[in-house]
Amino acid sequence: MREAVMKVFRGTDSGSGEFKTYKVPIEEGMVVLDAIHYIQGYLDPELAVRWNCKAAKCGSCSAEVNGHPALMCKSRMDHFPEGQEITVEPIKTFPLVKDLVTDVSWNYEVNKKIPAFKPSENADWTFMQEDIERVQEFRKCIECFLCQNVCHVLRDHDRKDVFYGPRFFVRMAGLEMHPLDTENRAGILKDQAGLGYCNITKCCTEVCPEEIHITDNAIIPLKERVVDEFYDPVAKLFKTIFGKKK
């Protein structure tokens, strides 16, 4: 039977942890998460990993496979050259808990700060499919946090104190572009969320397993909204006379 050589990060501290090597029999169509489960089930029951659906719907099994941020449940073993070692390590931007598990709780704290959906009071709740296509794109997000993981502002500069990250720009775009929403999040986007720190390198878009056009469809339109709100004198005058957005 063919075997894969898996090098899996083990440990509770990124400094003292190390890669352990496991040999795993390969079945047709196998994904990296299957190999990790094999290790758990037959070789090492203590190996820590997060997963739920195993079908790319829940966004739990994010990791870096051969250095590439990905969902383990979508990473096919047969996409790697035969005989090549496959390394699996935790995502880098969040503190390590153990093995492949990181502490992503910061994201849940950020989410609490986003002003909720506020529909207009006299809405009749009729709106057209074409008016929600974009919002539905954003709402496909499965919160795998891979976009947060690769964003320079978070990964290299660790500015979690001033920057919400692509996941939450997508979330805010989904609220801002809802046809019935009346809340104005431009101030938060500009200040607390630190939208200006994003220099649109599109790293987030590249890793999104849901293929959301994070930069083009969410971040850039939000940046435009902030510009309109705070830096465009004509629009400001217009708003003063005719009222707020929407």
């Binding site: 509770t12 079945e27 047709e28 169509g29 196998m30 994904v31 299957d34 758990q40 089930g41 037959y42 029951p45 203590e46 190996l47 820590a48 990993v49 997060r50 997963w51 739920n52 659906c53 195993k54 079908a55 790319a56 719907k57 829940c58 966004g59 739990s60 979508k74 096919r76 808990v97 153990k98 093995d99 598990v101 502490d103 992503v104 709780s105 849940y108 989410n111 609490k112 909720a116 959906f117 529909p119 709740w125 009729t126 709106f127 057209m128 499919q129 929600i132 919002v135 539905q136 709402r139 496909k140 499965i142 919160e143 609220l175 809802h178």
Partner: protein, 606 residues
């Protein structure tokens, strides 16, 4: 005794899928303090995997629809084993609960005139499922999650509950541990809502994730509640069968709702020959008629044509597929073919985007060009904690249950789309019931130290046993037993053999051991989960043995007919000392005015 942290709430909700979140939102809105515990990260619960839609008689697409028809469909689908009152409340309240989700920010697909779009599903007479492509569950859980976050509910993520604590006969708290570091935690609570989902991990081929170890079922059983209808286990007709790693992953019923066709290896559209006599007239008679229905549905037009035979109820379609494969007419990997490739590729990608990606990426199959291979996968348990229909309270004072962990709503077979609606209807009712209860019982919950000590000892034990059993190996044994002896078709000798093997396995589970530390140690967690799984497995097997007929999802090879007498009782499982007891209790009898709803149409028992 090891240290543990302590929190106190009026209402503690265990489980943060659709039912748990909806319960927490309701309780919190009634002014009581609410804690919410979930075994995974928030938003990863099983609800997120629901695909096809949420059933509610909004009548946006088929204006003939109404709660009465939804009620009849649900009872017929459940082979009249349902708690009629639950089915009634569900059908009546689902539309309001769906509209409420929309007002909280859910963005459903639209009709041409801008209303919530509804699609056809198995066993539903009219197009009834509100949906967002094939990711309806994600939309629902995210909406509830964000609503809950802004309501001041405290969420404890990656926390597992191992015991319910009682003060006399009523619940007073819950004990558990955090997966992250293994620290213990005590939640004092006046009322507890169980919303822990199902039991799929007792079976090897399942659409369920690691979380589905029957925790709530077992916690309630241990606390003295009854589990009813446990013999009714739903095998979803269409799970993936190839490649091996994805075996069991769900293929949404939405594929058939959008016109997907089932064929065997001979190219025969076999569902025509498996339609039960009682409902045959509701379905198309020929391929031509089915095609007229599908074409009209795609164009959003009305038609006199009847729906395709693939939209029969899940129990029937799963059995039919099983029989076709058994007769040697299966696909290369032991399933049958499900084909939507005859439709416009862009439409398929739009209506079923995650199915398109799932097959493309995991099976190298382009569903717009070729058929899928599918076969039955364990998907859902109709049975669960016996509850009062109106308040969702169990027989243990202060203990409530909602969603898959509760029993009665779906009877002998659940219709697709009725689960998401169940979550929001009864999640809300359980939250309200628990809040009312907590308001009435003003005394602080009291905790008995001995119960905490026993809970801690139980968790510590696997570390102290040297050379004990490997938890994963024991789970594989359980899978072997359940798939061999308690599968889709059952028979007395098999079930008896299965029960005796489960009895033996129960003893082995007492010898389970693990090494390492308590820091995120899945093997240690599995040691505890096994106990829940074995309780549920045994309850399923014993209940299945006791029902000597075939009805809904319960198919007996030795009793192939439906026996009208056995509709009159539910199977109830409860703990008696160390052993599991079973008793038959009368099925609630429907009032006359509801019975009348069935008279003018087809006979009961679809």
């Amino acid at each position: 005794m090891a240290n543990y942290e302590v929190h106190e709430y009026d209402v503690l909700v265990v489980g943060a899928g659709g039912a748990g979140l909806r319960a927490a939102i309701e309780a919190s809105s009634m002014g009581v303090t609410v804690g919410l515990v979930c075994k995974s990260l928030l938003g990863k619960a099983h609800t997120v995997m629901a695909e096809g839609g949420v059933a509610a008689a909004l009548a946006n697409v088929d204006e003939q629809d109404g709660w009465e028809t939804h009620f009849c469909d649900t009872m017929n689908g459940g082979k009249m084993m349902n708690n009629w009152r639950m089915a009634q409340l569900h059908a009546q309240e689902a539309p309001d609960r769906v509209r409420e989700l929309e007002r909280w920010g859910a963005v459903f697909d639209r009709t041409k005139d801008g209303k919530i779009l509804q699609r056809a599903f198995g066993g539903h007479k009219w197009k009834r499922l509100c949906h967002v492509g094939d990711r309806t569950g994600l939309e629902m859980i995210r909406t509830l999650q964000d609503r809950g976050v802004h309501q001041g509910i405290t969420v404890y993520m990656e926390c597992a509950i191992t015991r319910l604590l009682k003060d006399g006969n009523k619940v007073s708290g819950a004990f558990g541990y955090f997966r992250e570091d293994g620290r213990y935690v005590l939640f004092k609570a006046k009322a507890i809502v169980l919303a822990t989902g199902g039991v799929g991990k007792s079976f090897p081929v399942t659409s369920n994730s690691w979380e589905y170890t029957g925790d709530g079922h077992a916690l309630a059983y241990d606390a003295g509640a009854q589990l009813i209808d446990m013999e009714f286990v739903q095998f979803h007709p269409t799970g993936m069968v190839w490649p091996p790693g994805v075996r069991g992953i769900l293929v949404t019923e939405g594929v058939r709702g959008e016109g997907g066709i089932l064929r065997n290896s001979k190219g025969e559209r076999f569902m025509f020959k498996y339609l039960p006599e009682a409902t045959r007239n509701d379905y198309a008679e020929t391929e031509e008629e089915a095609k007229i229905w599908v074409d009209a549905a795609i164009r959003g037009e009305k038609t006199q044509a009847r729906r395709p035979p693939e939209l029969s109820t899940r129990d029937n379609v799963a059995r039919s597929i099983y029989l076709e494969v058994k007769a040697g007419r299966g696909s290369p990997h032991g399933g049958v073919f499900l084909d939507i490739s005859y439709q416009d590729p862009d439409r398929v990608k739009k209506k079923l985007p995650s199915m398109y990606h799932q097959f493309k990426e995991l099976a190298d199959v382009d569903i717009t060009q070729q058929p899928m291979e599918v076969g039955p996968t364990m998907h859902y348990i109709m049975g669960g904690v016996r509850v009062d229909a109106d308040t969702a309270e169990s027989q243990v004072p202060g203990l409530f249950a909602a969603g898959e962990v509760s029993g009665g709503m779906h009877g002998g077979n659940r219709l697709g789309g009725n689960s998401l609606s169940d979550l929001i209807v009864f999640g809300r009712r359980a939250g309200a019931g628990a809040a009312e209860y907590a308001k009435k019982h003003t005394a602080a919950p009291s905790i008995v130290d001995d119960q905490i000590k026993a809970a801690i000892d139980e968790m510590e034990a696997p570390f102290n046993r040297k050379d004990g059993k490997n938890p994963y190996e024991l789970q594989r044994k359980m899978h072997e037993i359940m798939s061999t002896y308690v599968g889709i078709f059952r028979e007395e000798n098999d079930l008896k053999k299965g029960i005796s093997l489960l009895e033996a396995l129960k003893e082995e589970i007492k010898q389970v051991s693990i090494s390492g530390t308590k820091t995120y140690n899945p093997g240690w967690h599995m040691c505890r989960d096994l106990r829940n799984m074995i309780i549920c497995s045994e309850a399923i097997a014993r209940s299945a043995l006791s029902r000597t007929e075939s009805r809904g999802a319960h198919s007996r090879l030795d009793y192939t007919e439906t026996d009208p007498e056995q509709q009159k009782s539910n199977t109830a499982i409860f703990q008696d000392g160390d052993s599991m007891k079973l008793e038959k209790t009368p099925t609630p009898v429907m009032p006359e005015e509801l019975k009348k709803l069935f008279v003018k149409k087809e006979p009961a028992n679809a």
